[in-house]
């Protein structure tokens, strides 16, 4: 069997599946948290009075800020969970390339 080069590896179906799978998660999620931040900032700017409303002794602005801290941690762990799967897929590609 001929040695595969980088191009051949890039066309390897397992590799393409790895890239597609990762991108299916990473791109929409990146769009989501970016929009979440922009929406939060826009609310702070354009709906000042609403964000100053106090719920359970904290303003909505503060609750929103805490939600960003929590979101960062939650999405970090969501990524890490999926990443184990990608790690295995990458391992398969590596093994195939070494055969």
């Amino acid at each position: 069997m001929a040695e595969p080069g980088w191009e051949a590896l890039a066309r390897n179906p397992r590799f393409r599946e790895l890239v597609a799978s990762r991108r299916r998660f990473v791109f929409p999620m990146t769009a989501f948290y970016t929009l979440y931040l922009v929406a939060y900032l826009a609310l702070l700017g354009y709906a000042k009075d609403l964000m100053a409303t106090e719920v359970l002794s904290l303003s909505l602005a503060l609750w929103g800020g805490l939600s960003i801290c929590v979101l960062t941690v939650v999405l970090a762990f969501a990524y890490a969970r999926r990443a184990n799967e990608w790690e295995r897929m990458a391992q398969q590609v590596v093994e195939e390339s070494a055969r």
Binding site: W6, A10, V38, A42, A52, G65, A76
Partner: protein, 542 residues
């Protein structure tokens, strides 16, 4: 209570504690120096830093004096709005995790330019990216030193030039003798000290208010002339566009800071790079939440009387809060609390500036000297890196003392983040994810990003028509809302208006390497075959 002190009088206890911090960092440097003999050891700590340790160090690299003392200070002065920058920075570690950390580790070697040079024409791209790194790190370095000098002057009573000189000399010592390994461990020690100081102060504040956040906020609001409106938005960042632009600049800019991205070259593999960011996010998210307690706590405990004492940016609010919690001015407890808290602040300053120096030294020695000018050997490169570190240090010290402690560092911090967001982040992301992207696109993007940033900052309130003036043509102190799209636009225009480069094969290689780690240092190696040889630019020394 009479809140104050920290007036710049000589404080022997604080000086003694600072001396202990310096001694500890020198021990670390001596230990690291024995382990720094190759290029990889100098720039990347031999790629032997464990994921968790690197994560803590990265948090230490990010949490600068301006973030740690600055957010709490702004919240003391203006309330909620001081928090927005911190929130955007916290979230920015998600794009670092999702898009950059593992790919950087797999595809790069020592500097951000390595990743771009991988698939684009190496020399022009390296020059542009190295200039970018030097601009961002150099400006940020001066901003940090100005803030550091002012804080140390107030806390320990050492004059501003001497304080700057001490920081400057020590940061250079860490880098020159201990390279990345010393920098890493100074950052780890500092992050731990900072977390402990932050937690202790936050718990002490909460205890004072019966662990009721509501009671704390009520007390903070009643101590502020603006009353309850400080608990909501609009007291500091006054226009909606200013809020959005500032948030976006910090969000994208933090993800494009070269000294932070460089940290991911120190770990053994991409999995460790991922683990790093998880730890970093854990620390920074907790810290970001914690800082509200410190910021509002300072207002609740110190009251309005400390507005003068905390300084123009509020940097001394947190140390003064520690002093008040320890028993107040003039008490032994207060003095000890102030000195210990100041030690954490001092360690913070030292660790961050060291990271900036090593990033700049890498850009000069690895990118410009070795790979653009093609001079010297590996031995020679390390020597040049050390000389560059000294040069950067001397220039930064002279620049900082030259502009003086009264300089408004907002404009410097803004420049660093706007450059990182508009000129560094777009080409890096596109090089990793866009097949058609080419050298012309990268160069145009960097030129557009830098030009737009300079123009927009020149037109913004801190600069035009005079310092902190009204009636500036642009209200955006952090103009990322305009400059980031211009940076991306430049990349796109340059690419589509120029001939496609034959980068298809190198993009394939970058894609395979960055996604799987094949061929990366310490990763699985491709089998030797001619078809695995680099298809282009074989003279590139990587």
């Amino acid at each position: 209570m009479r809140p104050v002190a920290a007036t710049g009088e000589f404080n022997s206890l604080a000086v003694a504690v600072f001396a202990c911090v310096l001694a500890m960092t020198l021990v670390i440097t001596r230990w690291a120096a024995k382990r720094t003999r190759s290029d990889t050891e100098f720039y990347a700590a031999g790629r032997g830093v464990a994921g968790a340790a690197n994560g803590v160090a990265t948090a230490g690299d990010y949490l600068s004096a301006s973030t740690f003392l600055g957010y709490a200070g702004l919240m003391y002065l203006y309330g909620f709005d001081g928090w927005i920058i911190g929130l955007a920075a916290c979230l920015s570690f998600l794009p670092v995790l999702y898009l950059l950390a593992e790919r950087m580790r797999n595809a790069g070697k020592f500097t951000v330019a390595d990743v771009l040079a991988f698939r684009l024409r190496a020399r022009p791209v390296r020059v542009a990216t190295a200039i970018n790194t030097l601009l961002i790190s150099g400006i940020y370095l001066v901003a940090q030193l100005v803030g550091a000098g002012a804080v140390i002057e107030a806390l320990a009573g050492i004059t501003f030039p001497v304080a700057v000189l001490i920081c400057g000399v020590f940061m250079v010592i860490y880098v020159v003798f201990g390279g990345m390994l010393a920098t890493t461990w100074v950052q780890i020690v500092k992050a731990v000290m900072l977390m402990i100081a932050g937690i202790v102060v936050a718990v002490a504040v909460l205890a004072k208010f019966n662990f009721s956040p509501g009671q704390l906020l009520d007390s903070a609001a009643s101590n502020h002339e603006d009353g309850r409106s400080i608990l909501g938005p609009g007291t500091y960042l006054t226009s909606p566009l200013l809020i959005i632009s500032t948030g976006l600049t910090i969000f994208i800019g933090t993800a494009g800071l070269p000294h932070i991205l460089m940290r991911f070259f120190t770990v053994p593999d991409s999995k460790a790079a991922r683990t790093s960011v998880l730890y970093t996010i854990g620390i920074i998210a907790s810290f970001t939440a914690l800082v509200t307690i410190i910021g509002f706590g300072a207002r609740a405990v110190l009251g309005g009387g400390a507005t003068e004492a905390v300084g123009p940016g509020g940097n001394l609010a947190a140390p003064l809060l520690a002093q008040a919690l320890g028993g107040g001015d003039g008490t032994t407890g207060g003095a000890i609390a102030l000195a210990l808290f100041s030690a954490a602040a001092f360690a913070t300053i030292l660790a961050v500036v060291a990271g900036l120096v090593i990033a700049s030294a890498g850009a000069i020695a690895h990118d410009l000297w070795r790979n653009v000018l093609r001079r010297g050997s590996e031995e020679g490169e390390r020597k040049v890196a050390r000389i560059a570190a000294i040069g950067v240090g001397v220039a930064a010290i002279i620049g900082t003392i030259g502009i003086g402690s009264g300089f408004n560092v907002t404009v410097l911090v803004s420049m660093a983040f706007v450059f990182a967001a508009s000129a560094n982040f777009p080409p890096l992301i596109l090089a990793l994810f866009w097949r058609r992207f080419n050298t012309t696109g990268a160069l145009t993007g960097i030129a557009f990003g830098i030009t737009a940033s300079v123009i927009m900052i020149a037109l913004s309130p801190p600069v035009w028509p005079g310092p902190d003036s009204q009636g500036s043509p642009s209200p955006l102190t952090f103009p990322g809302l305009i400059t980031i799209p211009i940076g991306f636009l430049g990349c796109w225009l340059g690419t589509v208006l120029s001939k496609p480069e034959t980068t298809d094969t190198t993009y394939d290689e970058l894609l395979v390497r960055s996604e799987t780690g094949i061929g990366s240092e310490g990763g699985p190696q491709p089998r030797r075959s001619r078809r695995f040889e680099r298809t282009e630019a074989p003279v590139e020394v990587r």
